[in-house]
């Protein structure tokens, strides 16, 4: 536990709905080591998205403690949280969230812009990342000119650009067909093999099976936390040329 990347202690998040307080998280204590690949699962309303927002530093907890890479997040101001998101965390969203009418290169550069990196270095690093996700020849394309899988790879390149300690993927395959889903999973598994910690929210059982550890949420609590017994190997599936049936 000494070098846990993510350490939450009794994390509670409450919302005020009208005059009633609704607890989205009711005391979450989770520890995620460096280099893990975790899938967070649960039905809607279980609190998994709230948990993601908290560990992604997009929101702050009502009570409890969160330590990311040795830093107590609960104590930080809005600007400090922005800096953490910029330097430490790479986000991958279901809807890709790329800037429209903006080239893939400029999209990947975006975090560096807010990190104050000079223009020449921004281009250099963004080009390198795009090449790594196999889009070296699509740098000047706008999102509208790219397929869903390509857009998600641009988003992953953007998530990686600042060498984060954590990739947070929120339903990364939710908007993709099954084959491109496997391609994206192959990319995430590759990153994980290279040492990157990946936390992914999904409600799909077979997508969760690409991870090494599954955490199940229900009603704001962790109900199950176990290693994946039989991990799907995305590369092998692609080599065999078949994708698993997608659960709608």
């Amino acid at each position: 536990m000494a070098d846990a990347l993510i350490q939450t202690t009794d994390l509670v998040k409450e919302y005020l709905v009208g005059e009633q307080t609704v607890a989205a998280l009711r005391g979450i204590s989770v520890s995620i080591e460096k280099g893990e690949f975790v899938a967070v699962m649960g039905p809607s309303g279980s609190g998994k998205s709230t948990f993601m927002n908290l560990i992604g530093c997009l929101d702050s907890a009502t009570r409890g403690d969160y330590v990311l890479a040795g830093e107590r997040i609960s104590a930080l101001s809005g600007d400090a949280l922005a800096a953490i998101r910029n330097k430490r965390i790479g986000f991958v969203f279901q809807q890709f969230n790329l800037l429209p009418r903006t080239s893939a290169l400029d999209n990947v550069e975006l975090p560096l812009l807010y990190g104050g990196v000079p223009a020449a270095e921004r281009h250099e690093r963004a080009k390198k990342r795009l090449a790594e996700v196999g889009l070296a020849d699509r740098m000047d394309h706008h999102p509208a000119q790219l397929s869903g899988g390509q857009q998600q790879r641009v988003a992953i390149a953007r998530a990686l650009i600042n060498n984060p300690v954590l990739i947070l993927a929120d339903e990364p395959t939710g908007a993709l067909d099954s084959r491109t889903s496997v391609e994206v999973m192959a990319l995430l598994q590759q990153l994980n093999r290279d040492g990157m910690t990946v936390v992914m929210v999904t409600h799909e059982q077979d997508i969760a099976a690409f991870a090494r550890r599954n955490i199940h949420f229900r009603d704001g609590l962790v109900v199950e936390d176990h290693p994946v017994p039989k991990i799907n190997d995305a590369e092998a599936m692609l080599r065999r040329g078949r994708a698993p049936a997608k659960v709608a």
Binding site: D59, D79, A82, R85, F91, N97, L99, L113, Y114, N162
Partner: protein
Amino acid sequence: MDLLATLRIALRALKVNKLRSVLTMLGIIIGVGAVITMIAVGGGAQARVEEQIKSLGSNLMIIVPGSTTSSGVRLGGSSAQTLTEDDAWSITREVHEVQVSAPSSRGSGQIVAGNSNWSTVIQGVTPEYLEVRDWPIVSGRGFEPQEISGAGKVALIGQSAAKQLFGDADPVDQQIRIRKVPFTIVGVLDKKGQSMMGQDQDDVVLVPLTTARNRLFGNPQGKLRRVGVISVKVRDGQNMKEAEDRIRELMRQRHKLQPGADDDFTIRNLTEILQAQEASSKVLTLLLAAVASVSLLVGGIGIMNIMLVSVTERTREIGLRMAVGARAGDILKQFLVEAVTLSLIGGLLGIAFGLGGSLAIGEFAGWRTSLSPESVVLAVGFAAAIGIFFGFYPARKASRLSPIEALRYE
């Protein structure tokens, strides 16, 4: 994030909705254009008055014969010649506020020079007249004392009259005939321009007062040395009103008017009239600029409106930018720069529009316009200020969005 990158983002965002951006700018373009044009029109009016004051001579009053009553019938002004040359000299002598006063008489006549001729104003004057009117001689010389006392046949010529009679040739030492009397031109007067009434003051020939009386206008009461007008220059820093009262008192005394009787002369304080005109043209300029500023204000509200729409439309983009590390300040700056870019581009186009507008008004309405660099700087500064002022609220709204809600926004 550096300003250049922010500016690039702003320009890209504005390019996405070209028509919308241009329409929004139009408010500022019209506003800035209107302010510049109106200030130019007002400034033109003001400059014209100022020029008239200058051409008139400063601190000037004129005394003209006034209404006279003859057997109970009141006659209008200038119906009789009640002023004399001695009135003028005694004003200079006895009213200490007066720097100099000059008698003159005025008529018109045909002037012949060689084979060209021209009908113009002929004024009989003394050297004091030029001093009162601040009217220098640009070439040749003025009248000599013996020419004044001896009714010399010499003349000074205004620039317009000289051009009519001699073209570009030098009029000095040329011979002319005024009402068939031969004269020698001894000097050329400086250019004065239009008078308050729109008359060309340079279309004139000046001759000695005595010459005018004895040889040209044929005064039947020559011994009384009647004159048409007395022009008075009051010393700098003296109260014009007090000087006027003192002159009136002296004139009534000299003309032996009973207390209660009407003045038989009228004193016109021309400088005062012009200064009043100048003040009113300043008010006019201010009023025009104020009305034009309203359109600038409306343009600003248009910017605010569009920026609010833009913030709503781009909520997801804002959420994403925050997720990848944009601070609230970065978002504020981005939208503020966008609003200011809109208003500044509008402002610059507005300058062109304003320049064109004031040229067009000068050309087609024939009004004089005067563009001041200050008004251009002012209008653009104002446009930028409007961008900041009206862009601030939408930008702050954007920067205060919660990243999660912004990301989830549909």
